[in-house]
């Protein structure tokens, strides 16, 4: 085949930069010869020739950014081949910048209303104490906001906390020399050395247990799971050892540890590599579960997690790693764990989501608002302890609730929210709560089925239409 196409080099790559040509027109190439270097947000990669031939034309100039996968980038003619028709190039194929997903709805939190709890009947003696979350700190006047990716935000959070506290170290597969399978730990080895940035063998149950033990002894490990799918090998140590230790020891021994990594569905990686563990971990007393969406929340909450004396499950999302947002440039930007963020105030309907679900919810909100529905959008940010107060106050105002998550419906975060609303705001509801979730099936590989299995912006809009009786 004479045309060389821009290759996809990872499950989530859509475009890349053609950084360098290593051949020129007229060169003769053999299989395995490196033709060009390509940069993605994760890595620099080389394209090799598959067949022997002569480079007849370079179609994309060196240094071009945003080259979409499958764009023809060069022609290589095999023996006896003549240049045919150039494949038609869609006009928008090159350099069309993704508008990004961080619309106005994702401006940093401001003007959050703090909600006073309503007077309640006297609690029974053994009721669980209520956790009250503090509000986000006010940002200093005129603070500079820096645009960065979620990936950079997480990386900065770890680097800053490691500078601040020598007991913090990071351990996991490929976190050091490889710079992280998803490049979240980039440059940490260079700055902090191999004693504090530790590559492990593939032995999740073992290194997780080891890290929990080190936390019992007072260190503050950050355990990176290459993805949360592989933490299932280690879930016993997370739940039975880390989460329960304080209680079992009558308050003596605790585990100041962060378990983190990408959670949820990536892209086309099939059933064993695509699932959302939000509900799983949120089920466990003793754990704190954080699932940020924006870059600012990723940074502020990861810093808080590392400082927490408790075991924290910190759920990131691979698809969101490359998305950008504004993060305040401060020496120490820390956000309170356990506090939801009102991403948009509104009066007609409440949408509650978190992590990747916020992308669907945000896009749906934009469309709904322009169609005249005054949506209140809440990003939970922390799943345990869950900030019911913010949700309940909102539902009391709007009378309608739609929840959005990627995970399975049964026993999900939406199910929990619906129960809480029924418990605490039943009389305020004007419609049944509706949830938008991933379909109740293992994740299929086929592109069409994967799409069907995931929640969609349209599902959110349909649910909002249903609870507002607009449909």
């Amino acid at each position: 085949m004479p045309t060389i196409l821009m290759p996809a080099l990872s499950p989530t790559m859509e475009e890349g930069k053609l950084s360098k040509w290593l051949v020129k027109e007229g060169d003769i190439v053999s299989p395995g010869d490196v033709l060009a270097e390509i940069e993605t947000d994760k890595a620099t990669m080389e394209i090799e020739a598959i067949d022997a031939g002569t480079v007849s034309k370079l179609l994309i100039a060196e240094g071009t950014e945003g080259v979409k996968i499958n764009t023809a980038i060069a022609m290589v003619l095999g023996e006896g081949e003549t240049p045919g028709e150039l494949p038609p190039q869609a006009p928008d194929q090159i350099g069309s910048a993704d508008p990004g997903d961080e619309g106005p709805l994702n401006a940093p939190a401001q003007g959050e209303t703090s909600v006073t709890a309503e007077a309640k009947a006297p609690a029974p003696v053994a009721a669980a104490p209520k956790s009250v979350a503090e509000a986000d700190p006010d940002l200093p006047e005129g603070v500079e906001m820096v645009e960065m990716t979620v990936r950079q935000a997480l990386n900065e959070a770890m680097a800053e906390e490691m500078r601040r506290d020598k007991d913090v170290f990071i351990i996991g597969e490929e976190v050091a020399e490889y710079q992280g399978a998803y490049k979240i730990t980039q440059n940490l080895l260079q700055e902090f050395g191999p004693q504090r940035v530790i590559d492990t063998p593939i032995t999740e149950h073992g290194f997780t247990g080891l890290a929990v033990g080190a936390a019992f002894a007072g260190l503050k490990p950050i355990v990176e799971f290459m993805t949360w799918n592989f933490a299932m090998q280690a879930i016993d140590q997370i739940i039975n050892s880390a989460a329960k230790q304080l209680y079992m020891s009558g308050g003596q021994v605790h585990a100041p540890i962060v378990f983190r990594g990408p959670n949820g569905v990536a892209s086309r990686v099939g059933a064993q590599h695509s699932q959302d563990y939000s509900a799983w971990y949120s089920h466990i007393p003793g754990l704190t579960v954080v699932a940020p969406y924006s870059a600012a929340d990723a940074k502020g909450l990861l810093k808080a997690a590392i400082r927490s004396p408790n075991p924290i499950v910190f759920l990131e999302n691979e698809i969101l790693y490359g998305s950008t947002g504004l993060v305040p440039k401060m020496d120490d930007f820390v956000l309170p764990i356990g506090k939801a963020r009102i991403a948009r105030q509104g009066a007609d309907v409440t949408i509650v989501s978190f992590s990747m679900g916020m992308r669907y919810a945000t896009q749906a909100t934009e469309k709904l608002v322009s169609a005249g529905v005054d949506v209140e959008l809440i990003d939970l940010r922390t799943l345990r302890p869950m900030d019911s107060d913010t949700v309940i106050a909102s539902v009391k105002k709007t009378g309608r609730l739609v929840t959005v998550e990627e995970g399975w419906p049964q026993g999900g975060i939406g199910a929990e929210l619906a129960m809480r609303v029924m418990d605490q705001a039943f009389d305020f509801l004007d419609a049944p709560v509706m949830r938008v979730t991933g379909k109740d099936v293992p994740m299929p590989y086929a592109a069409n089925l994967e799409k069907l299995a995931l929640p969609h912006v349209d599902d959110v809009i349909a649910a909002v239409n249903a609870v507002t009786y607009r449909s």
Partner: protein
Amino acid sequence: MARKPAAVAVPNIPELTEAQELQAYRSMLLIRRFEEKAGQMYGMGLIGGFCHLYIGQEAVVTGITMATIEGDAQITGYRDHGHMLVMGLDPKGVMAELTGRSGGLSKGKGGSMHMFSNEHRFYGGNGIVGAQVPLGTGLAFAAKYRGENTVSLAYFGDGAANQGQVYEAFNMAKLWSLPVVYIIENNKYAMGTSIERASATTDLSLRGASFGIPGEQVDGMDVRLVLEASERAIEHARSGKGPYILEMLTYRYRGHSMSDPAKYRSKDEVTKYRAERDPIEQVKARIIERQFGTEESLKAIEAEVRAIVNEAADFATSNPEPEASELWTDITVAA
């Protein structure tokens, strides 16, 4: 790239028959060309997710499968395309699974990492590193339970060899004398981590020693040695003596998956393996030297293999995606 013929006379290397040499050549070439095509198709966005190529390791599964009999079960990790091709599964079905089409071996629902064939007793196609080792041990358990004469072959990598469940399985296999052969495909790296950086001891054939499981290291780039060692190991397991470990010293030419920049090893290392140890070039050189074939007759095989691969690729790109209703099937068996 010029490759040096590598037929070096080493004493005590078993000679293959003409038919065996040609079979090995064809099998390995099929894997090689199939994987190259898969790599290309990934680059074109026709294959999604993760795609782990077997290029360089072809002699391992080829030699082992030549030592099996019908009914023997095989199971491996996610680097699984070659296993299915050698076990005789239709390349069209394998490629269509890679593209997520209805004609794929898992109807497009599994993908590169999750392919199976009940008929051929191939049990995957497993995405979780190490999980296939207890599973393969369970296949052996079932054979023994039912008094069947079949053996289970469980493949895993040098990286997987550090998972705890591997050793839990070893212990039970020996304790209960299960007919399983463990094949450690030591290609020197687990993603970006070399075996030296991950393993306290690097002779993986000794990993069963504390359980009393015999093991040996085999040159996994030489299909003759793979076949010979496999015959011994499989016979051991089949005759009721229990598990056996074969550590296959091999090498993957490509990155771990398609998104691996492979900065952890030198270009020279890869080039050297390709030039001096290539499993296919070794067989090819012997075929010519022993006059089992000529450059021309081998070219004819090559053309035949390419045609099979192209046909598979055409099928995999023209075959339709699964019906939307497939989303809701195969979740539980209807009772």
